[in-house]
């Protein structure tokens, strides 16, 4: 094989592909061929670099130059200037938002500095469609080592590492494996839960797109530990790229004998099948997931029995999330002590988060447990967009809670987030600023859980709908203080009585906003005012007479005929007639229409 002197790593994750990264790769290859350098320079399609805010990313190796927001038409310049002449294309470099300086090496960017990448170790580094690159990075060595010892030893290693489930529940992984290994039965299953459903979350997708072999290897290790020869990956059909890469990796692993019969000459047989989900959020719940794979309606059943005792087809089944699996090989390569040295007392290792919302650096990050919310939001996330003020951060997906300024210095781990009224969840992190109305935020999440409820149990099926209706009523200015009492009682009862994790956590956004932003609720109800000016029905529009030029644009735009005034004289809005559509606000060129 040729010894390349230079590599261009181009992100082939779903986000960057949507921004033409496939075309960028083609153009780079064309330009390199045109320069006659095909034997010296290779273009590698990798998985996600995480810094999606700045994508598409092209990273030049060996000098570690990190080009951002690359377009296909930039390929020529990158090749002619950087590859041929060694001159960096400054305009494509990342600009530090504080210092306004260009930073060439991603290692020096705030976004990457505080990150520690274990689960994402190969993301943006290797070509996910080439198993050789995974093997070159110690791939499958963990499996080989495990196969030389006993399953009990391997389970012990996972237990000692302190790894907990990354899908949301935080159940100790080693213990889960141990229970499944002790469940009697010749036929057992390893299931990888890739039914990522939180809005805005793409941790699992990225791992499968960027490093599918790490999951395959971990599933095989798990199979050996619990005594299963069959693995199933339950993945949503909306992840075609992840599916494709997983299929390629499985095929390559089979070719090398890393899946199939007699793996690495050990006599251990293990293979994996892919099962497609149709994208129902509740199918991320492990019993619902199993029913879905069995061809039944995707709805949860009461636990116990846990899948470890009676899961897929009634057989002992171990279900772990993608990110959990991605941690496994490293634990065996570097040792459980090493892994356990990272993180907090009860939460070990790192956690991947999908940063989204009103934050500068939207993207995928991985930080050691115990990193504070402040570090994540300000150091890695680069602070709030547009210099606005931080208001809240929502963790744990739609059933998590909203945390506020007072929680910013809370070290992130399972127990701290739960104690603060939210949860770890699978790793969604949505940042909100002063313009976000917390009642509307709670309503938004309730709408999601109402849409995604399976309808099996009454509290979730009907209760969440009623919560949503009351929140809607409040945002329309029709709420009463009694509604707040009922909201609270209903939320508590739903948490207390719902069948599965979805329903038991769905009122969290309501309860946490009631706890942390009670005044905002009261403002909506008593003052008929939305402090963030988000709730349309509560907006009061007025015209600033000093700014109004009397151009009549607003009056002409008003569908309710609520604006009166002479040409070239200040106009006035009749608030009785105003239907709060905002047309005048959008029309005014002089910022004379104001929202009170």
């Amino acid at each position: 094989m040729p010894n390349y002197k230079m590599s261009l790593l181009c992100c082939g994750g779903t986000g960057c592909r949507a921004s033409e990264s496939v075309r960028i790769v083609e153009r780079l290859r064309e330009e390199i061929a045109a320069a006659g350098m095909d034997n010296d320079v290779q273009v590698v399609v990798t998985g996600c670099f995480g810094f999606c805010e700045q994508g598409p990313i092209v990273k030049v190796i060996p000098d570690n130059t990190f080009y951002t927001n690359v377009k296909p038409e930039d390929a020529e310049e990158i090749v002619k200037e950087h590859v041929v002449k060694g001159r960096k294309v400054t305009r494509l470099l990342y600009e530090d938002p504080d210092t306004k300086k260009h930073i060439s090496d991603s290692k020096h960017m705030g976004f990457y500095q505080k990150q520690l990448r274990i689960a994402l170790r190969n993301c943006g580094f290797i070509n996910p469609e080439n198993i050789d690159e995974y093997i070159a990075r110690d791939g499958y060595e963990a499996l080989a080592k495990v196969l030389q010892g006993t399953p009990q030893e391997a389970i012990e290693t996972v237990k000692k590492s302190g790894l907990r489930g990354r899908g949301g529940g935080g159940f100790p992984t080693g213990l889960k494996w141990e229970i499944a290994s002790k469940s009697p039965g010749p036929e057992k299953y390893v299931v990888c839960n890739a039914d990522e459903g939180d809005p805005g979350a793409f941790m699992d997708r990225s791992i499968l797109e960027s490093d599918p072999n790490s999951v395959i290897e971990a599933m095989a290790i798990c199979g050996y530990c619990i005594g299963a020869s069959k693995g199933l990956v339950y993945i949503r059909a909306e992840y075609p790229l992840a599916v494709k890469r997983l299929q390629i990796a499985m095929r390559q692993a089979r070719d090398y004998g890393l899946l199939g019969d007699d793996i690495l000459g050990s006599g251990f047989n293990f293979d994996i099948e892919i099962r497609y989900g149709a994208g129902a959020f509740v199918c991320g719940e492990e019993t619902a997931l199993i029913h879905s794979m069995e061809g039944k309606r995707g709805e949860p059943t009461v636990k116990p029995p846990f899948p470890a005792e009676s899961g897929y087809l009634g057989k002992p089944t171990n279900v772990n999330n993608v990110e959990t699996f991605a941690n496994i090989p490293v634990i065996f390569l570097k040792g459980s002590e090493w892994f356990a040295s990272i993180g907090t007392e009860k939460s070990k290792g790192t956690k991947v988060f999908a940063l989204a919302g009103k934050i500068n650096n939207v993207g995928l990050i991985e930080v050691p447990m115990g990193t504070t919310l402040r570090e994540v939001i300000y150091d890695i996330g680069g602070g709030i967009k547009g210099g606005k003020e931080f208001k809240a951060v929502q963790t744990g997906g739609p059933s998590g809670g909203c945390l506020t300024k007072k929680h910013l210095d809370t070290p992130i781990d399972y127990d701290n987030l739960t104690a603060a009224g939210s949860m770890m969840g699978s790793g969604g992190m949505i940042v909100m600023d002063e313009d976000d109305c917390m009642v509307s935020v709670a309503k938004f999440y309730l709408q999601f859980t109402v849409d995604e409820s399976c309808g099996k149990c009454a509290p979730c099926r009907i209760g969440n709908k009623r919560l949503e209706e009351i929140l809607d009523k409040i945002t329309k200015g029709k709420g009463t203080m009694e509604d707040l009492d009922y909201l609270k009682n209903l939320s508590k009862v739903i948490k207390d009585t719902a069948l599965c994790g979805l329903g038991q956590t769905s009122p969290n956004p309501v309860l946490s906003t009631l706890d942390n932003f009670y005044d905002e609720y009261v403002a909506h109800i008593v003052d008929k005012r939305c402090p963030a000016h988000k709730c349309r029905a509560l907006r009061v529009y007025a015209i600033d007479p000093d700014r109004c030029k009397g151009c009549t644009a607003c009056a002409r735009a008003c569908p309710a005929g609520a604006i009166k005034g002479e040409v070239k004289q200040a106009h006035v809005i009749d608030t009785e007639k105003c239907i709060r559509c905002g047309a005048c606000f959008d029309k005014c060129k002089f910022n004379a229409v104001i929202v009170q």
């Binding site: 060996p62 060694g86 690159e133 060595e141």
Partner: protein, 133 residues
């Protein structure tokens, strides 16, 4: 494709595959490695920089030296091409001029590996592109 039948076979395979990944591995930890930058502008290439760079890369790969080789643009020493800049970890960079393949080997033997300076050092009177950025 042949199956891998043991941990040893896996490791042998890994050793074979590693070299391809080498430049990426090293670029992950550049601060701990010696960085050699070959000036590859028009002047450098005309003076034989490509042959120099190839010989350095071959040696580095053959002997698995803790060295990362990159190409750079014109450093402004057109009179002394080919030039290479060598930066040992924690030290200031040193630029050598009139480097041919043999000279390059000497630089590696003495300066890169042992920190012994050799002839042909050019006075540093510029900022690197990286510093500028």
């Amino acid at each position: 494709m042949s199956k891998i039948k043991s941990l040893d076979e896996l490791r042998q395979m890994k050793a074979r595959l590693e070299s391809e990944m080498d430049i990426r591995e090293k670029s992950n930890n550049p601060d701990k490695l010696v960085q050699i930058r070959v000036a590859m502008a028009t002047c450098g290439i005309a003076a034989g920089a490509r042959a120099v760079m190839n010989s350095i890369i071959e040696r580095v790969e053959r002997e698995k030296l803790p060295v990362i080789v990159t190409q750079g643009g014109c450093m402004g020493y057109c009179y002394a091409e080919p030039t290479i800049e060598v930066k040992r970890p924690g030290e200031d960079p040193v630029v050598f001029g009139h480097v041919n393949a043999d000279k390059a080997m000497e630089i590696i033997d003495k300066y890169v590996l042992h920190g012994e300076l050799v002839d042909g050092i050019l006075p540093v009177n510029y900022q690197t592109i990286q510093e500028k950025i």
